[in-house]
């Protein structure tokens, strides 16, 4: 696949269709891959990588990149195309300046999951028939491939590319995922249990803002939490309230726009399952206002920019589920 992508990129650069390519660059180890822009065939040849660890969603970079001169080639996985489509819908990217090549999606691997197994000194990771052969300083280790995949890939919602100019591989389909299972499990707990669960998770937050800065839906020029005049600007969770507020508002601000790409949880250095907050909104929107998948199209009205006269009242919250 990597070979095919490099060839495709080289060809498009050579025939002048695009001026730049956004993809992923090899790192020091097997897993530390950095999104990068390539301008020449030599750079592509030397550093471009596409493998089990290229999970980063590059669509947010296109907000900036698509406004530069010339056209850019972007390799987008199915989940990335949803993010890109949503950005197009919000007029945050210049669609004409991006040439999208759809590439097959995951499941992608999570180095943290491998490390959590106690495997240290990782020098190389090979996938042999869905068994990972991990070469380490302390000898070879193995683990099942599916135990090391990213959480976001384990609950993949779609293998379908919703936008592309060209496709490498076959067209995929929307999947019947079990992504709301954990949300449901929490909903069925008591309020006290839910409170304890979230306090445990959110108290780990170090407010590095990685979840916000990586999110393809968070594209405000100036975030309310960075604006000294907003009255809520804060840099560190000085109180548990501020932890809660940041995460509620972060998730709320992307409600109805979040495509569930899972980047927030992937980048969280403290492994907080932030995507559950976003999914809760998605689940509520689906059940209360009709099925809606952000990024699926570029024309429909977002659920929070829309209403029906016979929408349910807020008391629906008080009437359902466990107290």
């Amino acid at each position: 696949m990597q070979e095919a992508m490099i060839n495709k990129a080289k060809q498009l650069l050579a025939d002048g269709t695009v001026d730049r390519v956004i993809g992923w660059k090899r790192g020091e180890f097997a897993y530390d891959i950095t999104p990068a822009v390539f301008e020449t065939a030599e750079e592509l040849e030397k550093e471009f990588v596409f493998d089990d660890f290229t999970a980063a969603n590059v669509s947010k970079y296109l907000v900036k990149e698509s406004k530069k001169e010339g056209k850019i080639l972007a390799f987008l996985k199915p989940c990335d195309t949803y993010s890109f489509n949503q950005l197009t819908k919000e007029h945050r990217v210049v669609r004409e300046n991006v040439y999208i090549v759809g590439i097959p999606g995951g499941p992608k691997l999570d180095a943290e999951k491998i490390k959590a197994k106690g495997i240290t000194g990782i020098l190389g990771v090979k996938n042999e028939n869905y068994t990972l052969k991990i070469d380490t300083v302390y000898g070879e280790e193995t683990m099942p491939f599916y135990e090391a995949i990213l959480d976001k890939c384990a609950t993949c919602k779609s293998k379908k590319h919703v936008v592309y100019d060209e496709l490498i591989g076959d067209e995929g389909e929307v999947l019947d995922s079990n992504r709301f299972d954990m949300v449901e499990k929490l909903e069925n707990m008591t309020a006290q249990e839910r409170y304890d669960f979230w306090r445990g998770e959110l108290s780990k937050c170090i407010r590095c803002n990685a979840c916000r800065n990586v999110c393809p839906a968070c594209t405000c020029e100036k975030c309310v939490f960075d604006n000294p005049n907003s009255g809520v600007e804060n840099k560190a969770p000085a109180d548990s309230f501020e932890e809660n507020m940041f995460h509620i508002i972060r998730a709320f601000h992307v409600a109805g726009r979040c495509t569930d790409c899972g980047e927030c949880s992937r980048v969280c250095p403290q492994h907080i399952p932030l995507h559950l907050l976003n999914r809760k909104f998605i689940k509520d929107i689906n059940s209360l206002y009709g099925e809606y998948q952000a990024g699926e199209d570029t024309t429909s009205r977002a659920p929070l920019n829309d209403y029906k006269q016979d929408d349910c009242e807020t008391t629906v919250v008080h009437e359902r589920g466990v107290e």
């Binding site: 949300v183 929490l186 909903e187 309020a191 006290q192 249990e193 839910r194 409170y195 304890d196 669960f197 979230w198 306090r199 309310v224 009255g231 809520v232 000085a238 109180d239 548990s240 309230f241 501020e242 809660n244 507020m245 509620i248 508002i249 998730a251 709320f252 409600a255 907050l277 809760k280 909104f281 509520d284 929107i285 209360l288 206002y289 659920p303 929070l304 920019n305 829309d306 209403y307 029906k308 006269q309 929408d311 349910c312 009242e313 807020t314 629906v316 919250v317 008080h318 589920g321 107290e323």
Partner: protein, 148 residues
Amino acid sequence: MQVNDNKDFQPLIVAFCCNWCSYAGADLSGTNRLNYPTNVKIIRVPCSCRVNPMFILRAFQRGADGVILCGCHPGDCHYTSGNYFTRRRMTLLFSMLDFLGIERDRTRVEWVSAAEGAKFAATMNEFTEAVRKLGPNRRLEDLRCRKQ
């Protein structure tokens, strides 16, 4: 389930009232000499839809024990559709607060028209009582703001 009724507890209630209906409704309940608890602090907003979810959270931060949002009845919004958006927005916010384990009875949306002075007073009485039963807000408070 609260064991005691917190009879002595005086909750602080913040009520966001839309300028066109609910604030006038509160006014009417006053001119009609209807009683509602002094614990209710009214903040007038141009439309219920002006209320950003952050406002609700900030009220809790600064010591509110319950927050109620009052607006025109659906269909009667001065700005045609503001309260429809409020309704969706607040439904999702309340659902999220519930999801985080914060007592769901601390928040409420009520539609009060300019003619419903009696409803305003009754709503405030009932809501204050409900919050009183819950006791002080502990799950969404900022400890720094607690008065020693």
